[in-house]
């Protein structure tokens, strides 16, 4: 339709076209939702590897002596004490203690901090950080110059290692560590982060280098099970791993405590925006909770479907839902009153007028076998 605003394209748009991707509008961008099929791509990431273009995400850089302190004031986590080369999954809240965005903060150097935000929140977060940086440190929104690829799956590191000596050395990175590296002759930053529940890396490079890097990694993964993977699989993968999606599971009406993100809120920090409000919520206790559930009846819960108590009264709402390719079940996330949010509790999902049985289950729905990983080590760029 002619009234729709023009969609933005990542530097890899032509690559996606060549691969026959289905492109859809997402957060103002024309993005690949799938190449060969969501389920096939999902399985590739769980069993071998997938390569995602997530260049739509926003990258903001703060520079200067006070850069880390400014970031620390804007996020709920402890950004200031991060060591160089360490990343942190966190969120930025408003004064009411609800979530402006979930973010990854990368401590590049003592005076350089990179923040990755969701594509749909880029303008808002960019303005928020720019304002906070005023008179304190330099601010630059680098989103348009930077590309971001996510190489995810049990064979991701093996495939990355074929892209040169320096790339191979990135296997030594621990979860949520990152460093600069030459990957396929491209100057990049490699981070051991992701948004799939699998091992893997996210690779930042310049927009101009992105097509070469994308093609080279796909070639190196040829015969090793690597597939180009789209936003469709990204969504089913992150849901199985119970990683929140901004706009679905969290937004400016939800606080981190009810979203199950209490672990990224450090109330012992001297101050940060939203601290007082979150402290008050913590003191009086949350009223609802984001839970994982499985459909026991025949139906698929979707974002926005009402959740009903056994008598049919609406008590909550589904925030994410769909089939889980790995589990072969229909799963979902949703907010329920705390009293109804215990594992094993039964409720109903109103699937377009039909009440379908569901039960609260433990999350994550899927957890990979890797005893060495830290429990918080899964959250990458959202």
């Amino acid at each position: 339709m002619s009234t729709e605003p023009e969609l933005r394209r990542t530097p890899l748009y032509d690559e996606h076209k060549k691969l026959g991707a289905r492109l859809v509008p997402f957060a103002g961008w024309e993005m690949p939702v799938q190449y060969r099929g969501i389920v096939e791509e999902h399985r590739a990431v769980r069993t071998a590897a997938g390569l995602f273009d997530v260049s739509h995400m926003g990258e903001i850089e703060l520079r200067g002596e006070h850069a880390a302190a400014v970031v620390d004031y804007l996020v709920t986590g402890e950004a200031a004490p991060l060591a160089d080369g360490r990343a942190l999954y966190t969120c930025a809240c408003n004064e009411e203690g609800t979530i402006l965005d979930d973010l990854i903060v990368y401590r590049v150097a003592r005076d350089v901090v990179l923040i990755v935000c969701n594509a749909g929140n880029r303008d808002k977060i960019s303005a928020h950080f720019r304002k906070a940086a005023e008179h304190h440190c330099e601010f630059e929104d680098r989103s348009d110059q930077m590309a971001l690829l996510a190489l995810q799956g049990p064979r991701a590191l093996e495939i990355l290692g074929l892209a040169g000596k320096d790339a191979a050395a990135c296997a030594a990175l621990k979860s949520f560590q990152f460093r600069e590296a030459v990957v396929a002759n491209v100057h990049a930053t490699v981070a051991r982060t992701g948004y799939t529940g699998e091992d893997g890396v996210e690779i930042f490079c310049s927009a101009t280098d992105a097509p070469h890097l994308w093609r080279t990694i796909l070639e190196l993964g040829n015969g090793r099970g690597l597939e180009p993977t789209g936003l469709g699989a990204r969504d089913t993968l992150r849901l199985e791993a119970r990683l929140a999606l901004y706009g679905n599971d969290i937004d400016e009406t939800t606080n981190p405590l009810e979203a199950g993100l209490g672990w990224i809120v450090k109330l012992n920090k001297p101050m940060f925006i939203g601290k007082d409000a979150i402290h008050a919520i913590a003191s009086r206790g949350i009223t609802r909770k984001l839970v994982g559930f499985e459909m026991t009846g025949r139906g698929i819960a979707r974002h926005g479907y009402p959740l009903l108590d056994p008598r049919g009264n609406q008590v909550g709402v589904c925030t994410s839902g769909g089939p889980s390719p790995t589990l072969g079940k229909n799963i979902g996330l949703g907010y329920l009153p705390v009293a109804l949010a215990e594992v094993g509790m039964r409720f109903l999902v109103d699937c377009r007028g039909k009440s379908i049985d569901a039960v609260v289950v433990k999350t994550p729905f899927y957890k990979r076998n890797d005893p060495k990983k830290s429990p918080a080590g899964d959250r990458g760029a959202a």
Binding site: Q34, I38, V39, G232, D235, G299, G322, P323, R352
Partner: protein, 134 residues
Amino acid sequence: MSGKFDVKEGFLYTKDHEWAAPKADGIEVGITAYAVDQLGDITLVNLDVKVGDSVQAGKSFGTIESVKTLSDLFSPVSGKITKINAELESHPELVNEDCYGKGWMVLIDASNPAEKDELLSPSAYGELLKIVDH
């Protein structure tokens, strides 16, 4: 074949990408190859009708769900349901595998023959696909 997606001769089509195939015992209904391609991996076919129910042209008789999305199934014609494809309850993937055959959904005893004239011919449907699939 008409372009990228299979369009069967002898079938009639709706602009919502259902097909209607006149058979000896009624009008068989399913969704087209284009619809299947748009949906992707189909995980659930919900037929909200049973044998004996009446359906109306253009009204929903169920929903079809894929990994990503949910979509209504619209009846191409009015009439009574005389058969439903119960296989789809446990094997929704039949729609992916064979949408014009084993993936059929319902058989309708059409009550208003004039409605068939409202449906698209294979060539008209092929033209529609050229427009929607850019």
